[in-house]
Symmetry: D2
Subunit: 250 residues, 4 copies
């Protein structure tokens, strides 16, 4: 499966790292805004042995139509920023290239665009694209279904300089219908990222805990999504849609 | 719903405690082997205010047929010992009294009897009847389905004097198809009971943790089962059967 | 060592339980306000085999001078309420009976009285008398000494109905000079009591965690204090004073 | 304070990273075996802005006497391999350069050499040089002093491919006089490194937990040692020696 990656910040680099090492996917190119590293080899830059042809292109030197035609891909993985979808969305949809977007903060405008694109191609969007966090969301709402009266609290721990409540914790609270007060935010040192959902029963406690080790987890999540989109037809999907079959037991 | 409880050891007492305080269930009697406390009021003995008529009877002074006829119940909850089912099983099944057994170590003989009884009445058996542990089993196998390659390890912590690997940990290992070596048993001080399933991914970790606070959790688990058996017809059920609908999402 | 216990609420009962089972201490009597259970045997009431003579007396039927003279003790352990010290303090101090008070919320008036009594006898006061919590306080301030710049956060977890921030968490925050905002209070189900101090360094994290299992921990703490007061002369002591020698390495 | 670093493997690079960013220390050079990267700038290679003059030298192209004379340092930090001390030890000791070695597995031969060198200069050796782990060792033995009867268990968690029991866990067990059976080793996914010491009391549990985030923690530990060696005279020191004063309370 041929993959194109958009965005080459910290997350983008980690995702490239994972794709290059996965034999089921071939990274064809990385597209970024900056002209820095233009035409460099991705594997060389990251110091990884790989036969994937991946080369870095800058949006400033190469149009998306040209790129998509010269170096065709089956799927685009977007770890860039909110606006980029406007630049490549239609060109990708016309060519039936599947789109996986991991952008956290789309506005209404972008969400509408995604919906429109999903009429022509397969579109997947997940603001937190790790498998673990999405499993946590799913498994937590199951337990709340089973025991609607249980007390639920969330602890999220991150590095000292992280501003605001974590987006993942907010998403957990929304999913479980919790008040903001139920989120407890710890900021200390260099903690990469930990989310804990506590279910307090009268005589027992259940805890679901997710700990991030590194951004490469985004890469695995994106490829997990890619694998599950292979046979999906035109339409708009999220992480729940691909996890649901695993939770449905015969 | 009228309930009869069989067994009045530590677990039985804790379960009686929970039933007496639940307005949806009325504890009609407690049946035990010992003649100690015969004819005592359960609520008085436990120091709980309750209008449930529950009185203690000894199998030595009162036959089960006589008991079931004089003080009819809808459901029997059995926290006694392996053999007791032979004494009350048929009498209960004939009267269509539903049976919930929480006995840990039935032999083949008892399992066969349960199956036979389940042709006439609703029979439920769970060797670990807490909601939390059964949820843990279910949610853990979901995650293993999603990520069959993930590394899984189990930590179980109990009080110093507990002999052998915990039955719950063994059940977790069986369910997740783990080697015995993947179970790590901690024995220290007065730890009531903790089970942790660790899922190690390359760049993230998911942990499912269950902590017991007290034996009353068995009572809540038994009543959770009872509630879900109300409309169940004749047949043999386990905890998975009553959790499954919660995990099946439309 | 002969011990008298004042107070027979939930904590008092748990403490009596521990003393009765400790061969180094003999529980001589329990003194309480209520006349309920007056003259009952403590070991019988608690269902514990013990040769300690302990019998329950009510302050309403028995004066403290009479009690101290008829049933002399070496040490008094007080788990009653704020005001009780005014009733027995002087009588105890005159007889050189050592006083261990575990009362949480003394006002200035009581603190002054303790100081005054400590001129005549050995007086020990600890608002949280478990060994574990006091160790936590000590070990935490050591780490803060070593690394004054480290980020520190506190998580305290208790049962849903517990009002306000836990007194122990407040004490931890005071000891470590933290803002109130650094305390994160979790209230869920029946959690007995958990305190976690998180030290966040840039590239590592240290956590000190204390979990309560039951109130009997107060009893062990009180007897630990008693053992360390045996050879202490007249004066006013707290838990730090008896832990300090263990932290001083030659 | 002028620092020379020996070794530029994964740990060495992380340590260089930390030194370059610390204004109290100036990294003068890195010495390594390999000729790869010879004469490269360390800050450039690591992509860090720093005014430290640090340049990479190879032992194959530059003798230690020449290096120490041309680019004098106050302290050497050694993250290379067991044998290297034989090459630079005497040359450093003669020049009164302080030596901090973080080599894990010295044989008797190297230990003897260190002792000999410590007659001429200040020598410090710690097989695990993070502050957190050394604090853990210290604080744990304090608690064992206080409560010699307590049950102690160790859990250590590391990435799946880590062979054998972690050296740190072995050191913890030695320090606390535990059997090897008390160490529980978890191997799963990409866990960086976690050590937990569990103290099980009858009615409470204390846990000391250390989690590694990245190898940079070694750098901070080495600089912590360096800071505490500034005023130390000739002699042989370990991490305990520099932590001890913090645990001694007046």
């Amino acid at each position: 499966m041929k993959v194109g990656l958009i965005g080459f910040g910290k997350a983008g680099k980690a995702v490239a790292n994972v794709i290059l090492q996965n034999p089921d996917f071939s990274l064809e190119w990385v597209l970024r805004n900056s002209t820095l590293l233009d035409h460099h080899s991705v594997s060389e830059f990251l110091g990884i042995e790989s036969e994937d042809p991946a080369c870095i292109h800058s949006l400033k030197n190469m149009g998306v139509d040209e790129l998509f035609d010269q170096f065709p891909v089956d799927i685009i993985i977007d770890f860039s920023s909110t606006e980029t979808i406007h630049m490549y969305g239609s060109a990708a949809a016309e060519r039936k290239i599947k789109i996986i977007s991991a952008i956290s903060h789309y506005e209404e405008k972008e969400k509408k665009l995604l919906k429109k694109l999903s009429e022509k191609t397969t579109v997947f969007w997940s603001p937190n694209i790790t498998l673990g966090v999405n499993y946590l969301l799913f498994a937590s709402s199951m337990l709340k279904n089973i025991a609607p009266e249980v007390d639920i609290e969330v602890i999220e721990e991150h590095f000292k300089t992280k501003q605001g409540i974590s987006g993942t914790a907010v998403k957990i609270a929304e999913t479980l219908d919790l008040e903001k007060e139920s989120i407890n935010s710890i900021r200390a040192g260099g903690i990469v990222g930990k989310h804990e959902v506590i279910f307090g029963f009268p005589y027992q406690t259940v805890r679901l805990v997710h700990e991030s080790i590194s951004r490469e987890a985004f890469g695995n999540g994106a490829l997990f999504a890619a694998q599950h989109l292979i046979n999906k037809s035109t339409g708009f999907y999220n992480f729940e849609d691909i996890l649901r079959p695993y939770f449905t037991i015969q």
